[in-house]
């Protein structure tokens, strides 16, 4: 029987509970975390014969770790932990114990609470940097890709200048010139993210702008601004969003590198994983008090690994999705 012929009895379904559950599912689908199980045309709801793609257990493990780190970062001052800046002359370089789970550093400060506090700057800098890159690079890329012509050339020139400038030199230049507040450090890394993100969004804009739904929007009366925001942006955001976590991993590592050069956020109160690693990186500490560097290194490692892992799964997931269209 031809699908087109089938007209079901009820023209207007009432708002039954299943419909609301469906609606909830759609909400998730916007985030593209739950993939539609029904791909076919008119099969009546419910037959789940279509293959459901999953992100997998390890993906969710990574997500749980990231959520824990995010929670700790946000709530650090509220958690029952030692003051991370309190210097205790009695016990420098104490090995891990029940009192100080990760031990103490050269100044007798609690490494566990410092590591937890360190998540604040590391994640904030990483997150802010990638958001900045997404917003600035993303919008430049879309505008350039949509309008083409001279604007595209100008934006492309800026991107290539940014890309060909040695990243570390640029970072050192900025952080050495300005006061090293969290904003400046984040912006530094963010500026480095602009060009790669921008090139990505420009490339996917070029693809989507050729699709007929853009022309369709135009014949329905939409003009440039509306087409960019309502038609292109929702499409371009997906490949960009898939790269957010990967980008954040790079940004967290970049902050660590800056810290190693002594160029991360200034001040004793500003604890970051990178700065902690530097603190414990003296030869004596590395030999006798390995825990001072190993714990922040481990936490940073697991966090970056989780970001990469989750990010990579998401990217894979959407790549296939793109092909499916």
């Amino acid at each position: 029987m031809n699908a087109e012929d089938r007209v079901t009895g009820k023209p207007k379904a009432s708002r039954d509970p299943r419909a609301s559950r469906q609606r909830l599912l759609w909400r998730f689908r916007i985030l593209r975390l739950v993939r539609p199980s029904r791909v076919s045309d008119d099969s009546p709801a419910g037959d789940d014969s279509a293959v459901r793609r999953r992100l997998g257990f390890s993906f969710w493990l990574a997500v749980v770790w990231l959520l824990i780190m995010a929670f700790v970062a946000v709530c650090a001052p509220l958690l029952p932990m030692a003051d991370p800046t309190k210097v205790a002359f009695s016990g420098p370089r104490e090995p891990p114990s029940l009192d100080a789970w990760f031990g103490t550093d050269a100044l007798g400060r609690d490494v566990f609470s410092r590591t937890m506090y360190g998540a604040r700057i590391s994640l904030a800098v990483g997150g802010f940097a990638i958001v900045f890159g997404m917003v600035v690079g993303g919008s430049l890329g879309i505008v350039a890709g949509y309008f083409r012509g001279r604007l595209d050339q100008a934006v492309g020139f800026v991107f290539f200048v940014l890309l060909s400038f040695p990243a570390l030199v640029l970072a050192i230049l900025i952080t050495a010139t300005f006061e090293r507040s969290m904003l400046v450090v984040s912006l530094t890394i963010g500026i480095l993210a602009v060009a790669p993100v921008g090139l990505l969004s420009r490339a996917s804009t070029l693809v989507f702008a050729e699709r007929e739904f853009v022309a369709a929007a135009r014949v329905l009366g939409a003009r440039n601004g509306r087409i960019i925001v309502r038609e292109l942006l929702p499409n371009v955001v997906i490949p960009m969003g898939a790269l957010t976590l990967l980008g954040m991993a790079v940004a967290v590592v970049a902050e660590g590198s800056l810290a190693f050069l002594g160029l991360s956020v200034a001040g004793e109160d500003a604890i970051s994983w990178g700065k902690m690693i530097v603190d414990g990186a003296g030869l004596r500490d590395l030999q006798n008090a390995t825990h001072v560097t190993m714990f922040p290194v481990a936490v940073m490692f697991v966090t970056v690994l989780s970001l990469n892992f989750a990010g990579d799964r998401i990217r894979e997931y959407f790549d296939v999705k793109e092909l499916a269209f």
Binding site: W26, P36, V39, S40, A216, V219, G221, A222, A324
Partner: protein
């Protein structure tokens, strides 16, 4: 016969439309002097093969051409100059007065937006509906276009619908603001034959119910048959024959129209009957020779066909054709028998002595 002065003004009137695309190899003359009138409530079918300029004509009407295109000519909608309106960026004209349905429903819907939202958006933008009003109206529109289970469909994404259903969504979007003119650019090319018929019948019904005018662009004369009031056959950027549908199908004058009709397989043909294709290929549109563009493929071609581009005869609104040796006339018959006798046309196309008559 002359054009009646008392007749109502056409809804859409196109005069001497030319479109050129500059390319590295030279200018492509995609449309070369197309003129037609479309009256309120009528359907005009524009028929032609790929590259005949039919889609470019439609895109010109909808202001969809790339900026590099050079357009000249006059397009008047309800007394207003469409190209001036487009240049001025007039709000609420495209989409409200005239709109278009595209060929491929796979790409003409935004893949990341629910179909209900896509329909509702037009309503909210042009008619200022609230979100919930617009969504309700979207559901009604889906019902109008014969979508099964419209209440469920509004919250689905395009990839969950089949090609035929997607095209229904596209049609619903186009109809949202009750346009007076709908341009359908090969609306059924991308769907299979049974769905084609459903969609064409749907468009026809909607046009009648809503008193819309329609331009139906197709490469398939069969699609135009029975649904169009007037038919314009395009070849190499020109209208080569135009008439009311009956005249065109039963009393055509241009050999190209005749060849197109003859190439359609018939149900009463014997099994394994050889199809009757048009020999040769469509002409290049870069630097076309000053001759009838169809002459190299035409079994009627004579020496004078190669001497210049034949003009469209008659007045706009009448049966017009651009041919020096029209089929079904004495000149045509003479040309055909001369070519048969010689075994070759003036343009060098071999002609079998027997074979289908003119």
């Amino acid at each position: 016969m002359v054009e009646q002065a008392s007749a109502p003004a056409p809804l859409l009137s196109v005069r001497d439309l030319h479109v050129r695309f500059p390319t590295e190899r030279g200018a492509v003359n995609a449309v070369n002097g197309v003129s037609f009138d479309l009256y309120e409530g009528k359907t005009l079918a524009i028929v032609g093969e790929s590259g005949s300029g039919k889609s470019v004509t439609a895109k010109t009407l909808m202001n969809l051409l790339p900026r590099t295109a050079q357009v000249s000519g006059e397009v008047t909608y309800d007394g207003q100059d469409v190209r001036a309106l487009a240049a001025a960026g007039t709000k609420h004209f495209f989409g409200v007065q005239m709109t278009m349905v595209f060929q491929d429903p796979m790409t003409s819907l935004n893949p990341v937006k629910r179909v209900g939202e896509q329909i509702a958006e037009t309503l909210r933008y042009h008619l200022g509906r609230s979100r919930s009003e617009a969504l309700e109206e979207a559901e009604e529109l889906l019902e109008v276009v014969g979508m099964p289970e419209p209440a469920r469909r509004v919250s689905q994404y395009p990839h969950e619908l089949s090609g035929g259903l997607r095209q229904r969504v596209v049609i619903a979007m186009a109809l949202a603001c009750q346009p007076r003119l709908l341009i359908a650019d090969e609306p059924t090319t991308a769907v299979d034959v049974t769905v084609q018929k459903h969609l064409l019948d749907l468009l026809d019904r909607l046009r009648r119910d809503r008193g819309m005018s329609m331009i139906l662009i197709t490469h398939d004369l069969g699609v135009a048959h029975g649904r169009a009031d007037d038919v314009a056959v395009m070849y190499a950027g020109r209208v080569v024959e135009t008439a009311d549908a009956r005249t065109l199908f039963f009393d055509m004058r241009h050999p190209y129209t005749e060849a197109l009709l003859r190439s359609i397989p018939r149900i009463d043909d014997p099994v394994h009957h050889r199809l009757d294709p048009i020999p040769g290929r469509p002409p290049e549109l870069i630097d076309p020779p000053e001759a009838c563009a169809f002459a190299p493929r035409c079994i009627y071609a004579q020496g004078d066909c190669l001497g210049g581009v034949p003009e469209l005869s008659g007045l706009v609104g009448l049966h017009r054709f651009a041919c020096l040796h029209p089929t079904g006339t004495e000149r045509g018959m003479a040309a055909m028998s001369a070519n048969r006798a010689a075994g070759v046309t003036a343009a060098g196309l071999p002609v079998a002595d027997s074979g289908g008559g003119g």
